[in-house]
């Protein structure tokens, strides 16, 4: 089953980290990745929300800033291929110990191939 782990945290806090602190946290997360090499797919770290631009479809407007003004921001995501949700939760626990604070949203992935190509889908289907 493919999942994304969406990482949320208070950006004001994470962006106040020193270089050393940032490197330390990344190293801790890296250790979890090393442990679950087979399960982890791509990881994306997002730039601060100040760098974001949002296109509002209804108003046909380009506006500065992220889509959602929240107390905690979406800071990045991991892609995870695991047997089941239980294993995903286990890995999330270990990531949380490496980097406390905020939350992870564990969201199953659906794949979309715009060209209709037949590519292997998620390892486990519903039902």
């Amino acid at each position: 089953m493919l999942y994304t782990l969406l990482c949320y945290n208070d950006e004001l806090m994470t962006s106040a980290w020193s270089d050393e602190k940032d490197a330390e946290v990344m190293a801790c997360l890296g250790a979890v990745h090393a442990k679950y090499k087979k399960q982890f797919g791509p990881v994306v770290r997002l730039m601060p929300t100040t760098a974001a631009t949002t296109f509002r479809k209804d108003e046909n407007l380009v506006i500065d800033g992220p889509y959602a003004e929240t107390k905690e921001q979406l800071l990045g995501f991991h892609v995870l291929d695991v047997e089941n949700l239980e294993q995903a939760v286990q890995i999330v626990r270990e990531l949380s110990e490496a980097n406390p604070g905020g939350a992870y949203e564990i969201r199953p992935i659906m794949l979309f191939y715009p060209d209709g190509a037949s590519v292997p889908g998620p390892t486990v289907k519903d039902g």
């Binding site: 962006s15 106040a16 020193s18 730039m47 100040t50 631009t53 800033g65 107390k71 406390p100 604070g101």
Partner: protein, 413 residues
């Protein structure tokens, strides 16, 4: 089971919350010292309460509420309540927590933080006091840390901050909500102050120096403002500019701590993550088509960042950008910087011609004599070059600057 936060986590949360909480408390108490004390009290309580009960849902609102209540208690007990304006005191007693939390969202936050920063950038304060005050009150650096950054002793720094506060209290604080024009003006003043903080760090951000933290603080404040005022292209430009300069921090000093000029820097040491964010910010700013001095300076820095090696630098474009900057904000320092680009595009003779007339205005400026010396050296006028370098050394603000010129002087043979 509730996961209880560790002290390190609480501390970084408190650091992150400080500007917003102190800003709101300042609106409430209308007194910098009281606002600071209130925040301090709230932090002390947070350290125990959050470890016992877990962190609150909204840390900033919690700190403001607790800080306000505790301090009000103190004030009442010392029967100093009468010192608060009547209207303020009566309306606040009816205040319920809900409305306060509600009021903290949106525009209040924005204007509170802007007011706090604007207060620290009071035009009557000398710039050194502005910076010291902002670092103390907004960023929460200890007097000791600030004193170390400025290389003065702690008592002197304490006095400097006390004097600054007294002066602000005398001048009165701007508490009415600003109109759009005023808000824009305040942003300009505050932007300049943030850049001062950054530059104070940048002038000597050698690895052994304590000043590097000031660069990070400047960047943090710019990010904070940009989150509150997301559509200000000049604030984006300022952030991009600081990020681009900060990205070079590891390449700016060699193992001996001497300054390495941009052209000689090992570009593989430039922090590409930071460069990436800066280029994205600048790109975003340009979409607004409202250029300004910070955006132009960031665009210049971006051209350096985009050059894989020094010889790839698009000096002609940099010359053009400096020309645009000269038109907008004419200053001998801008012309001096442009002369560097001109020396690359049209040679040292043309650059020297541009530099010589600035002598009267920039006689006391380190970089003027440094650049003049370098241009004279290129033209083979060693004797004059030597004199210029010696004047530069006499004006050097840091050991690194002096050492760099001394090397050039030695190179004259």
């Amino acid at each position: 089971m509730v996961d209880l936060p560790d002290p390190g986590w609480i501390e970084s949360k408190l650091v992150a919350a400080r500007p917003r909480a102190v800003a709101a408390l300042l609106r409430y108490f209308r007194d910098l010292d009281l606002a600071e004390e209130a925040f301090q009290e709230a932090c002390l309580r947070a350290l125990t309460k959050w470890q016992e009960n877990g962190p609150p849902r909204d840390a900033v609102a919690w700190l403001i509420l607790v800080g306000r209540n505790v301090t009000l208690d103190h004030v009442r007990r010392q029967s100093r309540l009468t010192e608060l304006p009547d209207e303020q005191a009566s309306s606040d007693r009816e205040d319920v927590e809900g409305t306060l939390v509600e009021r903290l969202d949106g525009s209040h936050y924005r204007d509170d933080i802007l007011r706090l920063l604007f207060t620290c950038s009071h035009p009557e304060l000398p710039t050194t006091q502005q910076i010291a005050l902002a670092l103390r009150v907004v960023s929460g650096l200890s007097v000791r840390q600030i004193a170390r950054a400025f290389v003065v002793d702690e008592r002197a720094m304490e006095q400097r901050i006390t004097r600054a506060k007294a002066r602000i209290a005398q001048a009165g604080l701007p508490f009415e909500a600003p109109g759009p024009v005023e808000r824009a003006e305040r942003l300009v003043v505050v932007g300049a102050m943030i850049y001062l903080i950054f530059n104070e760090g940048y002038s000597d951000a050698s690895p052994g120096s304590q000043r590097g933290a000031l660069c990070e603080e400047g960047i943090r404040l710019a990010r904070l403002l940009l989150r509150l005022f997301p559509s200000e292209p000049e604030m984006m430009g300022l952030l991009a500019l600081m990020l681009l300069q900060h990205a070079r921090r590891r390449a700016r000093f060699d193992a001996q701590g001497s300054l390495v000029l941009l052209e000689q820097q090992d570009r593989s040491l430039w922090d590409q993550t930071v460069v990436g964010e800066a280029l994205a910010m600048l790109d975003k700013a340009m979409l607004h088509r409202r250029p300004g001095p910070y955006q132009i300076q960031a665009a210049i820095a971006a051209l350096h960042a985009r050059a894989k090696q020094a010889s790839d630098t698009d000096w002609a474009e940099i010359d053009q950008l400096y020309a645009a900057l000269e038109r907008r904000t004419p200053s001998p320092v801008v012309t001096l910087n442009r002369a560097v680009a001109v020396s690359k595009v049209r040679g040292p003779e043309a650059a020297l011609e541009m530099v010589e007339p600035l002598g009267a205005q920039l006689a006391g400026y380190f970089y003027f004599h440094g650049l003049r010396g370098a241009l004279l050296k290129q033209l083979g006028r060693s004797k004059e070059a030597g004199e210029a370098f010696k004047r530069a050394i006499g004006l050097a603000g840091t050991a690194a600057e002096a050492a760099h010129i001394r090397e050039q002087l030695d190179g004259l043979g």
